[in-house]
Symmetry: C2
Subunit: 233 residues, 2 copies
DNA sequence: CGCGTTTTATAGCGGTCGATCTAAAACTAC
DNA sequence: GTAGTTTTAGATCGACCGCTATAAAACGCG
């Protein structure tokens, strides 16, 4: 029934993603998109709906293609430390090769403050990355850590390193700085299982035998919601 | 000679800065600016030149008003640890109150990839913040540190925490996550002068007597330039 | 006062925005 | 082949973009 499409839809979606990735949402016009996708504006609207719907599909495709792949590799690594090191080394290498940064982080800045739907989508993916680091840190040798509350905080600083790496890469930061950030982020995990290290000023030569294990967050479960609802800018 | 201005120029500049801060460069129209500044478009062009020139003045005003103030407070603190703690505590508090993020970081994402002039301006200010952390870390108790190369790397992770805090705040991140990032960033400095801490897997109970002090970067001097020139997206 | 100068306000320039309409083209089902 | 359906291509819509031209209003100065 009806005339079949003559263009490659996945390829067109990838081209659209690249445009949004490089230029951002607002600065990318529908004509830019159609040109990059090698289709006409009418075909674009016919196949993907309006600009916002196309952007949503690009965001989902990005998360599935790029973000979750890195998390899965981190989970699959035998040694969490080596996994974390590979994660950041790859990230630095990719960020130096490709200055587009991360579509999620870019969108967190430009789109999230104005669009609740995309804000939650982005927030969820950032949480997945954070939880990936959390699980990796949790797999470190037993009885070697401060309280698990600090595992969460350390995972969040690692997520911060990822975000900042992407920001700095997009802004043209040199490889020296990016590598330094990655080095320090990796050192976070390496130091984490050094028994004597503690965040409190009081120094302990030995870790406490077994700090009470609290319920750790399972895959994807959000942290306890805080009533910090702020109006969006 | 001639009719004097009837509007408050600094106030108008502050209003323009707020618009760029909240909406970004592209999404802010000249009409938006004129409306927020309570002047007409003709007055805007007459007093500030075109949109890009106005943005440049806003960026410079932001750096002078906000960014350098925090660095100066960090330098002025007696105890560097307390200074770093105050820095991040204030930053978290301000970021939760005001979801605009940081104009510099916002611009690093949106403008820097397309405008070499603004890219260097932003890069210089980020370097000033990094150097501020570097000086604070350098003031920690003597003979307590790993190599000074790690001071630089630690300062860069602290800068990363600042950047990520601003990104997360703008994207609507909850106070719990922001506080965790700040906590871990502060712990970076607190751990830094814990003698037993080391980034290498080999553990040492005592620090080496006195690691060779290399020439530390003076105020504002850029790190060694690397030939990593990449074409801007 | 009137002259010169600068700032105001308004209208409008050519161009681009997201989105849609009309029709011709191209296919399947019968 | 023909009917029915969908995708093409191109033109076009009203709205908004950055910017400017024009002219009236408001001052310092002689």
């Amino acid at each position: 029934m009806g005339r079949p499409r003559t263009f490659d839809q996945p390829a067109a979606l990838a081209a659209a993603m690249d445009q949004f990735w490089r230029r951002g949402y607002e600065a990318t016009s529908v004509r830019d998109l159609a040109g990059a996708m090698s289709i006409t504006g009418a075909s674009l609207y016919n196949a993907f709906g309006d600009k916002r719907s196309l952007f949503r599909r690009c965001l989902h495709a990005y998360v599935d293609t790029y973000a979750r792949k890195r998390i899965a590799e981190l989970d699959a690594s035998d040694d969490p430390i080596r996994g974390i090191r590979a994660f950041f080394d790859d990230l630095v290498e990719a960020s130096l090769r490709d200055r587009r940064g991360c579509l999620l982080v870019n969108s967190a800045m430009e789109v999230a403050p104005w669009d609740a739907e995309f804000a939650t989508l982005i927030e969820q993916c950032l949480l997945e990355i954070e939880d990936g680091f959390y699980r990796a840190l949790k797999r470190l040798p037993k009885g070697s850590f401060q309280g698990s509350r600090d595992i969460r905080a350390t995972a969040r600083l690692m997520l911060s390193a990822v975000i900042a790496l992407r920001v700095l890469a997009r802004a043209g930061g040199d490889g020296d700085r990016l590598r330094s950030v990655a080095k320090s982020a990796i050192a976070l995990a390496e130091r984490s299982h050094t028994p004597w290290t503690t965040a409190s000023p009081a120094r302990r030569r030995r870790p406490r035998p077994s700090p009470p294990l609290d319920a750790d967050a399972p895959w994807g479960s959000p942290p306890p919601a805080h009533s910090e609802a702020q109006p969006k800018i």
